[in-house]
Protein backbone atom coordinates (compact mmCIF):
# COMPACT_ATOMS: atom_id res chain seq x y z
CA UNK A 1 0.00 0.00 0.00
CA UNK A 2 1.28 3.45 -0.88
CA UNK A 3 1.89 6.06 1.82
CA UNK A 4 0.77 9.63 1.33
CA UNK A 5 3.01 12.11 3.13
CA UNK A 6 0.94 14.98 4.60
CA UNK A 7 2.63 18.24 5.48
CA UNK A 8 2.05 19.25 9.12
CA UNK A 9 0.88 22.79 9.90
CA UNK A 10 1.22 24.80 13.09
CA UNK A 11 4.97 24.75 13.40
CA UNK A 12 5.74 28.47 12.98
CA UNK A 13 5.91 31.04 15.81
CA UNK A 14 2.84 33.00 14.64
CA UNK A 15 0.76 29.80 14.59
CA UNK A 16 2.05 28.63 17.99
CA UNK A 17 0.80 31.72 19.88
CA UNK A 18 -2.78 31.15 18.44
CA UNK A 19 -3.62 34.89 18.52
CA UNK A 20 -3.81 35.07 14.72
CA UNK A 21 -6.41 32.28 14.59
CA UNK A 22 -8.43 33.68 17.53
CA UNK A 23 -8.76 37.10 15.92
CA UNK A 24 -9.62 35.46 12.60
CA UNK A 25 -12.51 33.62 14.28
CA UNK A 26 -13.72 36.68 16.15
CA UNK A 27 -13.79 38.59 12.88
CA UNK A 28 -16.34 36.14 11.44
CA UNK A 29 -18.42 36.19 14.65
CA UNK A 30 -18.52 39.98 14.75
CA UNK A 31 -19.41 40.16 11.06
CA UNK A 32 -22.54 38.04 11.65
CA UNK A 33 -23.30 39.86 14.93
CA UNK A 34 -23.36 43.29 13.31
CA UNK A 35 -25.26 42.03 10.26
CA UNK A 36 -27.99 40.41 12.43
CA UNK A 37 -28.14 43.42 14.78
CA UNK A 38 -28.83 45.81 11.94
CA UNK A 39 -31.33 43.52 10.10
CA UNK A 40 -33.07 40.85 12.26
CA UNK A 41 -35.42 39.59 9.49
CA UNK A 42 -32.79 37.33 7.94
CA UNK A 43 -31.89 35.32 11.08
CA UNK A 44 -32.44 31.59 10.29
CA UNK A 45 -33.31 30.76 13.94
CA UNK A 46 -37.05 30.41 14.51
CA UNK A 47 -39.10 30.68 17.70
CA UNK A 48 -40.32 27.05 17.79
CA UNK A 49 -43.12 26.13 18.49
CA UNK A 50 -44.79 29.53 17.86
CA UNK A 51 -43.05 29.57 14.49
CA UNK A 52 -42.88 26.37 12.48
CA UNK A 53 -40.02 25.18 10.25
CA UNK A 54 -40.37 26.34 6.64
CA UNK A 55 -37.78 24.00 5.12
CA UNK A 56 -39.48 20.57 5.43
CA UNK A 57 -39.35 18.96 1.97
CA UNK A 58 -40.82 15.71 0.73
CA UNK A 59 -37.37 14.11 1.21
CA UNK A 60 -37.54 14.79 4.94
CA UNK A 61 -37.91 11.51 6.92
CA UNK A 62 -41.03 12.21 8.93
CA UNK A 63 -43.66 9.90 10.40
CA UNK A 64 -44.40 6.89 8.20
CA UNK A 65 -47.53 6.49 6.17
CA UNK A 66 -49.05 3.58 4.23
CA UNK A 67 -49.96 4.37 0.63
CA UNK A 68 -53.01 3.37 -1.40
CA UNK A 69 -53.22 1.73 -4.84
CA UNK A 70 -54.04 4.15 -7.61
CA UNK A 71 -56.45 1.70 -9.29
CA UNK A 72 -58.93 1.19 -6.45
CA UNK A 73 -57.67 3.25 -3.50
CA UNK A 74 -57.12 0.15 -1.33
CA UNK A 75 -54.06 -0.55 0.80
CA UNK A 76 -50.91 -1.09 -1.28
CA UNK A 77 -49.11 -3.16 1.36
CA UNK A 78 -48.98 -6.93 0.71
CA UNK A 79 -47.48 -7.83 4.10
CA UNK A 80 -44.22 -9.19 2.68
CA UNK A 81 -42.36 -8.36 5.91
CA UNK A 82 -39.44 -6.71 4.07
CA UNK A 83 -39.74 -3.56 6.23
CA UNK A 84 -39.95 -5.59 9.44
CA UNK A 85 -36.89 -7.59 8.30
CA UNK A 86 -34.87 -4.48 7.46
CA UNK A 87 -35.87 -2.58 10.61
CA UNK A 88 -32.88 -2.30 12.97
CA UNK A 89 -35.12 -1.27 15.89
CA UNK A 90 -37.61 -4.13 15.34
CA UNK A 91 -40.45 -1.63 15.81
CA UNK A 92 -42.77 -2.94 13.07
CA UNK A 93 -45.29 -5.59 14.00
CA UNK A 94 -47.17 -7.18 11.10
CA UNK A 95 -49.75 -9.95 11.08
CA UNK A 96 -50.64 -11.12 7.58
CA UNK A 97 -53.93 -12.54 6.32
CA UNK A 98 -55.21 -13.73 2.96
CA UNK A 99 -56.90 -10.95 0.99
CA UNK A 100 -60.38 -11.94 -0.18
CA UNK A 101 -61.34 -9.06 -2.51
CA UNK A 102 -59.44 -10.42 -5.54
CA UNK A 103 -57.07 -7.44 -5.82
CA UNK A 104 -54.19 -9.39 -4.37
CA UNK A 105 -53.55 -12.53 -2.34
CA UNK A 106 -52.11 -11.14 0.84
CA UNK A 107 -52.51 -8.07 3.05
CA UNK A 108 -51.69 -7.04 6.59
CA UNK A 109 -54.33 -7.59 9.24
CA UNK A 110 -52.25 -5.71 11.79
CA UNK A 111 -49.55 -3.20 10.84
CA UNK A 112 -48.20 -1.40 13.89
CA UNK A 113 -45.20 0.91 14.08
CA UNK A 114 -44.00 1.77 17.55
CA UNK A 115 -42.74 5.34 17.05
CA UNK A 116 -41.06 5.33 20.47
CA UNK A 117 -38.77 2.54 19.29
CA UNK A 118 -38.37 3.76 15.71
CA UNK A 119 -35.04 5.42 14.89
CA UNK A 120 -36.38 7.02 11.66
CA UNK A 121 -33.58 5.49 9.59
CA UNK A 122 -35.79 4.98 6.52
CA UNK A 123 -34.66 1.39 5.89
CA UNK A 124 -38.31 0.25 5.76
CA UNK A 125 -38.97 2.67 2.90
CA UNK A 126 -35.85 1.46 1.07
CA UNK A 127 -36.83 -2.19 1.54
CA UNK A 128 -40.47 -1.92 0.43
CA UNK A 129 -40.96 -3.57 -3.00
CA UNK A 130 -44.47 -2.09 -3.38
CA UNK A 131 -43.84 1.56 -2.47
CA UNK A 132 -46.39 0.92 0.25
CA UNK A 133 -44.59 2.61 3.13
CA UNK A 134 -43.20 6.12 2.86
CA UNK A 135 -41.88 8.75 5.23
CA UNK A 136 -42.94 11.76 3.14
CA UNK A 137 -45.63 12.89 5.58
CA UNK A 138 -43.61 15.93 6.65
CA UNK A 139 -44.62 15.23 10.26
CA UNK A 140 -41.63 15.95 12.50
CA UNK A 141 -43.41 16.18 15.82
CA UNK A 142 -45.32 13.31 17.42
CA UNK A 143 -47.10 14.09 20.66
CA UNK A 144 -48.90 11.77 23.03
CA UNK A 145 -49.63 11.42 26.72
CA UNK A 146 -49.16 7.65 27.04
CA UNK A 147 -47.01 4.97 25.46
CA UNK A 148 -49.87 3.32 23.57
CA UNK A 149 -50.64 6.50 21.65
CA UNK A 150 -47.22 6.27 19.97
CA UNK A 151 -48.04 2.90 18.42
CA UNK A 152 -49.52 3.82 15.05
CA UNK A 153 -51.80 1.14 13.64
CA UNK A 154 -52.85 0.36 10.07
CA UNK A 155 -55.83 2.75 10.01
CA UNK A 156 -53.79 5.63 11.43
CA UNK A 157 -50.88 5.07 9.01
CA UNK A 158 -53.29 4.89 6.05
CA UNK A 159 -54.96 8.16 7.05
CA UNK A 160 -51.74 10.21 7.01
CA UNK A 161 -51.37 12.30 3.85
CA UNK A 162 -48.06 12.84 2.08
CA UNK A 163 -46.53 16.18 1.08
CA UNK A 164 -44.84 14.82 -2.07
CA UNK A 165 -46.46 14.97 -5.51
CA UNK A 166 -47.11 11.21 -5.64
CA UNK A 167 -50.06 10.48 -3.40
CA UNK A 168 -50.49 6.84 -4.49
CA UNK A 169 -48.13 3.87 -4.55
CA UNK A 170 -45.92 3.85 -7.65
CA UNK A 171 -45.59 0.05 -7.68
CA UNK A 172 -46.69 -1.69 -10.85
Amino acid sequence: MGIKVVQRHGGTFIEKIYLHAIFGGMKTTLKHFTANLSDASNIPTICYPEQLPRDITSRYRGVHRLTHRKSDNTIACVACFMCATACPAKCINIVAIAREDGVDEKMPEIFNIDLLECVFCGYCVEACPCDAIRMDSGLYSVVGDNRESFIYDKAKLLSIKGISKEEFSLAK
Binding site: V78, A79, C80, F81, M82, T85, K90, N93, A96, I97, A98, D104, E105, K106, P129, C130
Partner: protein, 445 residues
Protein backbone atom coordinates in the same frame (compact mmCIF):
# COMPACT_ATOMS: atom_id res chain seq x y z
CA UNK B 1 -13.29 -45.96 -5.93
CA UNK B 2 -12.34 -42.34 -6.45
CA UNK B 3 -13.63 -39.65 -8.80
CA UNK B 4 -12.25 -36.18 -9.36
CA UNK B 5 -14.69 -33.29 -8.81
CA UNK B 6 -13.27 -29.81 -9.49
CA UNK B 7 -9.78 -31.32 -9.00
CA UNK B 8 -10.69 -32.71 -5.55
CA UNK B 9 -10.76 -36.50 -5.17
CA UNK B 10 -14.03 -37.85 -3.73
CA UNK B 11 -14.56 -41.39 -2.43
CA UNK B 12 -17.65 -43.17 -3.80
CA UNK B 13 -19.20 -46.54 -4.65
CA UNK B 14 -19.42 -48.06 -8.13
CA UNK B 15 -22.86 -47.53 -9.67
CA UNK B 16 -23.89 -44.53 -7.56
CA UNK B 17 -25.54 -41.58 -9.24
CA UNK B 18 -23.14 -38.67 -9.72
CA UNK B 19 -25.65 -36.20 -8.25
CA UNK B 20 -25.95 -38.32 -5.07
CA UNK B 21 -22.17 -38.31 -4.68
CA UNK B 22 -22.09 -34.54 -5.15
CA UNK B 23 -24.97 -33.87 -2.71
CA UNK B 24 -23.64 -36.27 -0.06
CA UNK B 25 -20.21 -34.65 -0.20
CA UNK B 26 -21.57 -31.12 0.06
CA UNK B 27 -20.66 -30.07 -3.47
CA UNK B 28 -23.07 -27.37 -4.62
CA UNK B 29 -25.17 -28.71 -7.48
CA UNK B 30 -28.34 -26.86 -8.46
CA UNK B 31 -31.34 -29.09 -9.22
CA UNK B 32 -35.13 -28.91 -9.32
CA UNK B 33 -36.45 -32.28 -10.45
CA UNK B 34 -34.02 -34.62 -8.70
CA UNK B 35 -34.96 -35.58 -5.15
CA UNK B 36 -33.04 -38.26 -3.31
CA UNK B 37 -36.14 -40.23 -2.35
CA UNK B 38 -38.10 -39.71 -5.57
CA UNK B 39 -35.21 -40.58 -7.84
CA UNK B 40 -34.19 -38.97 -11.07
CA UNK B 41 -36.41 -37.66 -13.81
CA UNK B 42 -34.00 -35.53 -15.84
CA UNK B 43 -36.45 -32.86 -16.95
CA UNK B 44 -35.14 -29.68 -15.35
CA UNK B 45 -31.58 -29.84 -16.80
CA UNK B 46 -30.23 -27.66 -13.97
CA UNK B 47 -27.68 -30.18 -12.69
CA UNK B 48 -25.41 -29.84 -15.75
CA UNK B 49 -21.75 -30.74 -15.24
CA UNK B 50 -18.80 -30.95 -17.56
CA UNK B 51 -17.28 -34.41 -17.82
CA UNK B 52 -13.80 -34.86 -19.23
CA UNK B 53 -13.93 -36.68 -22.54
CA UNK B 54 -17.57 -35.83 -23.23
CA UNK B 55 -18.35 -33.37 -25.98
CA UNK B 56 -21.35 -31.67 -24.34
CA UNK B 57 -22.36 -30.94 -20.72
CA UNK B 58 -24.21 -33.82 -19.06
CA UNK B 59 -26.89 -33.88 -16.33
CA UNK B 60 -25.47 -35.23 -13.08
CA UNK B 61 -28.75 -36.97 -12.13
CA UNK B 62 -28.49 -39.36 -15.11
CA UNK B 63 -24.77 -40.09 -14.89
CA UNK B 64 -23.43 -43.07 -12.97
CA UNK B 65 -19.98 -42.75 -11.49
CA UNK B 66 -17.17 -44.82 -12.94
CA UNK B 67 -13.42 -45.13 -12.35
CA UNK B 68 -11.35 -42.03 -13.16
CA UNK B 69 -14.38 -39.81 -13.83
CA UNK B 70 -13.30 -36.15 -13.98
CA UNK B 71 -16.13 -33.70 -13.32
CA UNK B 72 -16.19 -29.93 -13.37
CA UNK B 73 -19.13 -28.11 -11.72
CA UNK B 74 -17.80 -24.58 -11.55
CA UNK B 75 -16.27 -23.58 -14.87
CA UNK B 76 -17.27 -20.40 -16.72
CA UNK B 77 -18.80 -22.47 -19.54
CA UNK B 78 -21.01 -24.58 -17.27
CA UNK B 79 -22.23 -21.49 -15.36
CA UNK B 80 -23.28 -19.97 -18.69
CA UNK B 81 -25.26 -23.16 -19.44
CA UNK B 82 -26.94 -23.03 -16.03
CA UNK B 83 -27.75 -19.33 -16.50
CA UNK B 84 -29.48 -20.05 -19.82
CA UNK B 85 -31.47 -22.96 -18.39
CA UNK B 86 -32.50 -20.89 -15.38
CA UNK B 87 -33.64 -18.07 -17.64
CA UNK B 88 -35.92 -20.50 -19.45
CA UNK B 89 -37.31 -21.85 -16.15
CA UNK B 90 -37.97 -18.32 -14.94
CA UNK B 91 -39.25 -16.90 -18.23
CA UNK B 92 -42.94 -16.78 -17.30
CA UNK B 93 -42.44 -16.68 -13.56
CA UNK B 94 -44.63 -13.92 -12.05
CA UNK B 95 -41.88 -12.82 -9.58
CA UNK B 96 -44.46 -12.28 -6.85
CA UNK B 97 -41.99 -13.15 -4.11
CA UNK B 98 -43.49 -10.53 -1.71
CA UNK B 99 -46.69 -12.57 -1.42
CA UNK B 100 -45.11 -16.01 -1.89
CA UNK B 101 -44.68 -18.21 1.18
CA UNK B 102 -41.73 -20.02 -0.37
CA UNK B 103 -39.62 -16.83 -0.45
CA UNK B 104 -36.56 -17.45 1.67
CA UNK B 105 -36.42 -21.19 0.98
CA UNK B 106 -37.06 -21.00 -2.77
CA UNK B 107 -34.64 -22.70 -5.13
CA UNK B 108 -35.41 -20.19 -7.90
CA UNK B 109 -34.34 -17.33 -5.63
CA UNK B 110 -31.20 -19.15 -4.51
CA UNK B 111 -30.12 -20.18 -8.01
CA UNK B 112 -30.89 -16.77 -9.48
CA UNK B 113 -28.53 -15.21 -6.97
CA UNK B 114 -25.89 -17.91 -7.55
CA UNK B 115 -26.06 -18.44 -11.32
CA UNK B 116 -28.64 -16.05 -12.80
CA UNK B 117 -28.30 -12.29 -12.35
CA UNK B 118 -29.32 -11.67 -15.98
CA UNK B 119 -31.75 -9.12 -17.43
CA UNK B 120 -34.95 -10.70 -18.77
CA UNK B 121 -35.04 -11.03 -22.56
CA UNK B 122 -38.82 -11.46 -22.64
CA UNK B 123 -40.55 -8.70 -24.64
CA UNK B 124 -44.02 -10.27 -24.96
CA UNK B 125 -46.49 -10.45 -22.04
CA UNK B 126 -45.98 -13.33 -19.60
CA UNK B 127 -48.28 -16.35 -19.93
CA UNK B 128 -51.11 -16.16 -17.41
CA UNK B 129 -52.14 -19.27 -15.51
CA UNK B 130 -54.22 -20.12 -12.47
CA UNK B 131 -53.31 -18.70 -9.08
CA UNK B 132 -54.26 -19.72 -5.54
CA UNK B 133 -56.15 -22.86 -6.55
CA UNK B 134 -57.23 -24.98 -3.60
CA UNK B 135 -56.27 -28.58 -4.45
CA UNK B 136 -57.70 -30.06 -1.23
CA UNK B 137 -55.83 -31.64 1.69
CA UNK B 138 -54.42 -28.24 2.75
CA UNK B 139 -52.50 -27.76 -0.51
CA UNK B 140 -52.66 -24.53 -2.53
CA UNK B 141 -51.46 -24.43 -6.14
CA UNK B 142 -50.06 -21.47 -8.08
CA UNK B 143 -49.50 -22.60 -11.68
CA UNK B 144 -47.53 -19.49 -12.68
CA UNK B 145 -44.76 -20.16 -10.18
CA UNK B 146 -44.34 -23.81 -11.23
CA UNK B 147 -41.16 -24.99 -13.00
CA UNK B 148 -42.75 -28.35 -13.99
CA UNK B 149 -40.14 -30.41 -12.16
CA UNK B 150 -42.81 -33.11 -11.70
CA UNK B 151 -41.76 -33.91 -8.13
CA UNK B 152 -45.38 -33.64 -6.94
CA UNK B 153 -46.67 -35.72 -9.87
CA UNK B 154 -44.06 -38.41 -9.25
CA UNK B 155 -44.90 -38.41 -5.53
CA UNK B 156 -48.60 -39.05 -6.11
CA UNK B 157 -48.01 -41.61 -8.84
CA UNK B 158 -44.95 -43.49 -7.52
CA UNK B 159 -45.10 -43.15 -3.74
CA UNK B 160 -48.75 -42.84 -2.68
CA UNK B 161 -49.95 -44.45 -5.93
CA UNK B 162 -53.06 -42.27 -5.84
CA UNK B 163 -52.16 -40.31 -8.97
CA UNK B 164 -54.28 -37.20 -8.36
CA UNK B 165 -51.81 -34.76 -9.92
CA UNK B 166 -50.86 -34.52 -13.56
CA UNK B 167 -49.66 -32.12 -16.23
CA UNK B 168 -52.08 -30.73 -18.79
CA UNK B 169 -51.25 -28.60 -21.84
CA UNK B 170 -48.02 -28.27 -23.78
CA UNK B 171 -45.18 -25.78 -24.11
CA UNK B 172 -45.66 -22.65 -22.05
CA UNK B 173 -49.31 -23.63 -21.48
CA UNK B 174 -48.30 -26.76 -19.56
CA UNK B 175 -49.48 -26.72 -15.97
CA UNK B 176 -49.97 -28.97 -12.98
CA UNK B 177 -53.62 -29.76 -12.27
CA UNK B 178 -56.00 -32.21 -10.67
CA UNK B 179 -58.91 -33.76 -12.60
CA UNK B 180 -62.24 -31.94 -12.06
CA UNK B 181 -64.02 -33.15 -8.92
CA UNK B 182 -61.03 -35.29 -7.94
CA UNK B 183 -59.18 -33.19 -5.38
CA UNK B 184 -55.91 -34.17 -3.79
CA UNK B 185 -57.07 -36.70 -1.25
CA UNK B 186 -54.60 -38.93 0.53
CA UNK B 187 -53.16 -38.96 4.01
CA UNK B 188 -49.67 -37.99 2.77
CA UNK B 189 -50.76 -35.16 0.46
CA UNK B 190 -48.95 -32.33 2.27
CA UNK B 191 -45.58 -33.85 1.38
CA UNK B 192 -45.95 -32.28 -2.08
CA UNK B 193 -45.71 -28.85 -0.44
CA UNK B 194 -42.34 -29.72 1.02
CA UNK B 195 -41.18 -31.46 -2.16
CA UNK B 196 -42.00 -28.45 -4.34
CA UNK B 197 -38.71 -26.57 -4.83
CA UNK B 198 -40.54 -23.32 -5.69
CA UNK B 199 -43.70 -21.60 -4.45
CA UNK B 200 -46.14 -23.46 -6.70
CA UNK B 201 -47.45 -25.70 -3.95
CA UNK B 202 -47.86 -24.10 -0.55
CA UNK B 203 -49.53 -25.24 2.62
CA UNK B 204 -52.90 -23.76 3.46
CA UNK B 205 -52.17 -24.37 7.09
CA UNK B 206 -48.90 -22.39 7.08
CA UNK B 207 -50.08 -19.88 4.47
CA UNK B 208 -49.08 -16.30 5.42
CA UNK B 209 -48.44 -17.31 9.03
CA UNK B 210 -44.76 -16.41 9.17
CA UNK B 211 -41.86 -15.60 6.85
CA UNK B 212 -39.48 -18.53 6.87
CA UNK B 213 -36.37 -16.47 7.59
CA UNK B 214 -37.77 -15.62 11.01
CA UNK B 215 -38.03 -19.32 11.96
CA UNK B 216 -35.59 -21.44 13.92
CA UNK B 217 -35.44 -25.22 13.56
CA UNK B 218 -34.97 -27.88 16.21
CA UNK B 219 -34.17 -31.49 15.35
CA UNK B 220 -36.90 -33.61 16.82
CA UNK B 221 -39.00 -36.75 16.40
CA UNK B 222 -42.71 -36.91 15.67
CA UNK B 223 -44.67 -38.25 18.66
CA UNK B 224 -47.76 -39.13 16.61
CA UNK B 225 -47.09 -42.87 16.44
CA UNK B 226 -44.35 -45.37 17.15
CA UNK B 227 -42.75 -44.99 13.71
CA UNK B 228 -40.60 -42.15 15.06
CA UNK B 229 -40.39 -40.08 11.90
CA UNK B 230 -37.57 -37.53 12.00
CA UNK B 231 -38.75 -33.93 11.91
CA UNK B 232 -37.65 -30.36 12.21
CA UNK B 233 -39.75 -28.26 14.56
CA UNK B 234 -39.96 -24.77 13.02
CA UNK B 235 -40.67 -22.23 15.74
CA UNK B 236 -39.88 -18.71 16.80
CA UNK B 237 -40.39 -16.09 19.46
CA UNK B 238 -40.52 -12.42 18.50
CA UNK B 239 -40.70 -9.14 20.33
CA UNK B 240 -44.47 -9.10 19.90
CA UNK B 241 -45.39 -12.81 20.10
CA UNK B 242 -44.68 -15.65 22.52
CA UNK B 243 -42.84 -18.73 21.43
CA UNK B 244 -44.93 -20.62 18.92
CA UNK B 245 -44.42 -23.73 16.80
CA UNK B 246 -45.43 -22.99 13.20
CA UNK B 247 -44.89 -26.27 11.41
CA UNK B 248 -43.20 -29.66 11.30
CA UNK B 249 -40.96 -30.47 8.36
CA UNK B 250 -39.63 -33.91 7.47
CA UNK B 251 -35.97 -34.50 8.30
CA UNK B 252 -34.42 -37.06 5.99
CA UNK B 253 -33.71 -40.44 7.54
CA UNK B 254 -33.08 -43.29 5.12
CA UNK B 255 -33.96 -46.00 7.66
CA UNK B 256 -37.32 -44.60 8.78
CA UNK B 257 -39.30 -41.96 6.93
CA UNK B 258 -37.05 -40.97 4.00
CA UNK B 259 -38.08 -37.31 3.35
CA UNK B 260 -41.75 -37.80 4.11
CA UNK B 261 -44.31 -37.39 6.88
CA UNK B 262 -47.98 -38.26 7.15
CA UNK B 263 -50.42 -35.32 7.25
CA UNK B 264 -51.59 -36.32 10.72
CA UNK B 265 -48.06 -36.10 12.10
CA UNK B 266 -47.31 -32.93 10.16
CA UNK B 267 -50.33 -31.15 11.67
CA UNK B 268 -49.80 -32.53 15.18
CA UNK B 269 -47.61 -29.47 15.94
CA UNK B 270 -50.80 -27.66 17.02
CA UNK B 271 -50.88 -29.60 20.30
CA UNK B 272 -47.57 -27.99 21.26
CA UNK B 273 -49.10 -24.50 21.15
CA UNK B 274 -52.08 -25.28 23.37
CA UNK B 275 -52.38 -23.31 26.58
CA UNK B 276 -54.11 -24.74 29.66
CA UNK B 277 -54.57 -23.89 33.33
CA UNK B 278 -52.56 -25.69 35.97
CA UNK B 279 -51.76 -25.55 39.70
CA UNK B 280 -48.65 -24.00 41.17
CA UNK B 281 -45.99 -26.53 42.07
CA UNK B 282 -45.07 -26.81 45.77
CA UNK B 283 -42.75 -29.60 46.84
CA UNK B 284 -44.19 -29.68 50.37
CA UNK B 285 -47.82 -29.99 49.21
CA UNK B 286 -46.84 -32.79 46.90
CA UNK B 287 -45.01 -34.60 49.69
CA UNK B 288 -48.22 -34.41 51.75
CA UNK B 289 -50.02 -36.24 48.95
CA UNK B 290 -47.34 -38.92 48.96
CA UNK B 291 -48.24 -39.82 52.58
CA UNK B 292 -51.53 -41.30 51.36
CA UNK B 293 -51.55 -45.11 51.48
CA UNK B 294 -52.04 -47.23 48.34
CA UNK B 295 -50.79 -45.30 45.37
CA UNK B 296 -50.74 -46.15 41.70
CA UNK B 297 -48.99 -44.34 38.85
CA UNK B 298 -49.63 -44.43 35.12
CA UNK B 299 -46.92 -43.19 32.76
CA UNK B 300 -47.46 -42.20 29.16
CA UNK B 301 -45.67 -44.49 26.68
CA UNK B 302 -44.74 -41.37 24.69
CA UNK B 303 -42.35 -40.06 27.34
CA UNK B 304 -38.62 -40.28 26.67
CA UNK B 305 -36.36 -42.96 28.16
CA UNK B 306 -34.86 -40.37 30.51
CA UNK B 307 -38.28 -39.33 31.81
CA UNK B 308 -39.45 -42.93 32.20
CA UNK B 309 -36.26 -43.82 34.06
CA UNK B 310 -36.79 -40.89 36.48
CA UNK B 311 -40.44 -41.90 36.99
CA UNK B 312 -39.43 -45.50 37.65
CA UNK B 313 -36.87 -44.48 40.28
CA UNK B 314 -39.38 -42.12 41.90
CA UNK B 315 -42.06 -44.80 42.05
CA UNK B 316 -39.71 -47.45 43.46
CA UNK B 317 -38.55 -45.06 46.19
CA UNK B 318 -42.09 -44.10 47.23
CA UNK B 319 -43.52 -47.61 46.76
CA UNK B 320 -45.95 -46.66 44.04
CA UNK B 321 -47.15 -49.29 41.59
CA UNK B 322 -46.14 -48.05 38.13
CA UNK B 323 -47.90 -48.99 34.91
CA UNK B 324 -47.83 -47.82 31.34
CA UNK B 325 -50.50 -48.64 28.78
CA UNK B 326 -49.98 -48.31 25.01
CA UNK B 327 -52.13 -46.02 22.88
CA UNK B 328 -53.58 -48.38 20.30
CA UNK B 329 -55.82 -47.10 17.50
CA UNK B 330 -56.79 -49.85 15.06
CA UNK B 331 -58.07 -47.35 12.50
CA UNK B 332 -54.86 -45.28 12.36
CA UNK B 333 -52.26 -47.47 10.69
CA UNK B 334 -51.61 -48.08 7.03
CA UNK B 335 -49.09 -49.99 4.93
CA UNK B 336 -46.45 -47.23 4.97
CA UNK B 337 -45.49 -44.83 7.75
CA UNK B 338 -48.55 -44.82 10.00
CA UNK B 339 -48.73 -47.48 12.70
CA UNK B 340 -51.62 -48.55 14.95
CA UNK B 341 -49.44 -48.22 18.04
CA UNK B 342 -49.77 -44.48 18.65
CA UNK B 343 -47.25 -44.34 21.51
CA UNK B 344 -43.88 -42.85 20.59
CA UNK B 345 -41.78 -44.93 22.99
CA UNK B 346 -43.57 -48.17 23.83
CA UNK B 347 -40.41 -50.15 23.06
CA UNK B 348 -38.67 -47.97 25.66
CA UNK B 349 -41.35 -48.79 28.23
CA UNK B 350 -40.69 -52.49 27.65
CA UNK B 351 -36.93 -51.98 27.85
CA UNK B 352 -37.26 -50.36 31.27
CA UNK B 353 -39.42 -53.32 32.36
CA UNK B 354 -42.40 -51.17 33.34
CA UNK B 355 -45.57 -53.22 33.72
CA UNK B 356 -47.92 -52.85 30.74
CA UNK B 357 -50.65 -55.26 31.88
CA UNK B 358 -54.11 -53.72 31.55
CA UNK B 359 -55.75 -56.10 34.06
CA UNK B 360 -53.11 -55.53 36.74
CA UNK B 361 -53.49 -51.79 36.30
CA UNK B 362 -57.27 -51.91 36.62
CA UNK B 363 -57.04 -54.07 39.75
CA UNK B 364 -54.58 -51.75 41.45
CA UNK B 365 -56.69 -48.77 40.36
CA UNK B 366 -59.66 -50.22 42.27
CA UNK B 367 -57.67 -50.46 45.53
CA UNK B 368 -55.70 -47.23 45.17
CA UNK B 369 -56.47 -44.00 47.02
CA UNK B 370 -54.05 -41.79 45.10
CA UNK B 371 -53.43 -41.91 41.36
CA UNK B 372 -50.46 -40.10 39.83
CA UNK B 373 -50.80 -39.67 36.09
CA UNK B 374 -47.64 -38.92 34.12
CA UNK B 375 -49.18 -37.38 30.99
CA UNK B 376 -51.19 -40.47 30.00
CA UNK B 377 -54.25 -39.54 27.93
CA UNK B 378 -56.45 -42.24 29.49
CA UNK B 379 -56.91 -40.41 32.80
CA UNK B 380 -57.07 -36.87 31.38
CA UNK B 381 -60.74 -37.09 30.48
CA UNK B 382 -61.82 -39.87 32.80
CA UNK B 383 -62.23 -39.58 36.56
CA UNK B 384 -62.17 -42.69 38.75
CA UNK B 385 -64.56 -42.23 41.70
CA UNK B 386 -63.49 -41.55 45.30
CA UNK B 387 -59.79 -41.15 44.47
CA UNK B 388 -57.22 -38.38 44.57
CA UNK B 389 -55.92 -37.72 41.06
CA UNK B 390 -52.68 -35.85 40.33
CA UNK B 391 -51.51 -35.06 36.82
CA UNK B 392 -48.10 -34.16 35.44
CA UNK B 393 -49.42 -33.07 32.12
CA UNK B 394 -48.44 -31.40 28.84
CA UNK B 395 -52.07 -30.78 27.88
CA UNK B 396 -55.46 -29.93 29.34
CA UNK B 397 -56.97 -32.31 31.91
CA UNK B 398 -60.65 -32.30 32.84
CA UNK B 399 -60.36 -33.58 36.43
CA UNK B 400 -57.90 -33.65 39.31
CA UNK B 401 -54.95 -31.48 40.26
CA UNK B 402 -52.77 -30.59 37.27
CA UNK B 403 -49.07 -29.75 37.34
CA UNK B 404 -47.95 -28.52 33.92
CA UNK B 405 -44.72 -29.97 32.55
CA UNK B 406 -42.72 -29.10 29.45
CA UNK B 407 -43.80 -30.80 26.23
CA UNK B 408 -41.40 -32.59 23.90
CA UNK B 409 -40.51 -29.40 22.01
CA UNK B 410 -38.79 -28.22 25.21
CA UNK B 411 -37.11 -31.50 26.13
CA UNK B 412 -34.04 -33.39 25.07
CA UNK B 413 -34.59 -37.11 25.12
CA UNK B 414 -34.28 -40.55 23.59
CA UNK B 415 -37.03 -42.65 22.05
CA UNK B 416 -37.05 -46.20 20.72
CA UNK B 417 -39.29 -46.67 17.72
CA UNK B 418 -41.31 -49.70 16.60
CA UNK B 419 -38.28 -51.19 14.80
CA UNK B 420 -36.03 -50.83 17.84
CA UNK B 421 -34.13 -47.81 16.47
CA UNK B 422 -32.91 -45.54 19.24
CA UNK B 423 -33.18 -41.83 18.37
CA UNK B 424 -32.40 -38.54 20.09
CA UNK B 425 -34.52 -35.41 19.95
CA UNK B 426 -33.57 -31.91 20.98
CA UNK B 427 -35.29 -28.94 22.63
CA UNK B 428 -35.99 -25.57 21.07
CA UNK B 429 -33.66 -22.80 22.15
CA UNK B 430 -36.13 -20.68 24.11
CA UNK B 431 -36.69 -20.96 27.84
CA UNK B 432 -39.75 -23.00 28.71
CA UNK B 433 -42.24 -21.47 31.14
CA UNK B 434 -43.26 -24.87 32.50
CA UNK B 435 -40.75 -27.01 34.41
CA UNK B 436 -39.32 -30.25 33.05
CA UNK B 437 -40.62 -33.49 34.57
CA UNK B 438 -37.15 -34.82 35.38
CA UNK B 439 -36.32 -31.64 37.32
CA UNK B 440 -39.55 -31.85 39.34
CA UNK B 441 -38.87 -35.47 40.30
CA UNK B 442 -35.30 -34.49 41.22
CA UNK B 443 -36.69 -31.92 43.70
CA UNK B 444 -38.74 -34.64 45.41
CA UNK B 445 -35.69 -36.76 46.28
Amino acid sequence: MKILVDNTPIECQEGELLIDVLINNGVEIPHFCYQQDLGMDGNCRMCMVEIKGQKRPQIACDTFVCENLEVSTKSEKINEVKRSILELELLNHPVDCPICDQAGECKLQDYYMDYGLYESHLCTPKTKKGKHIDLGSNVMLDQERCVLCMRCVRFTSNITKTGELGVIGRGDKAKIAVAPNHPLNNSYAMNVVELCPVGALTSKDFRFQQRVWFLDSAKSICHGCSRGCNIFIDYNETKYTDEKVYRFRARRNKEINLSFLCDFGRLSYKELNEKFTSSTWHVETFKEYLKIEKKVALASPSLSLQQLQAIKEFCEKNSIALYSLPYVDESFGDDWLKINDRSANFAGVKELLISTCQNDFENSLKDANLIINFDHNLLKSHMPENKQLLHFSTSKCDYGTVYAIANFAHENGTLINCDGIRQEYYATKYRCETPRLVELLEELK
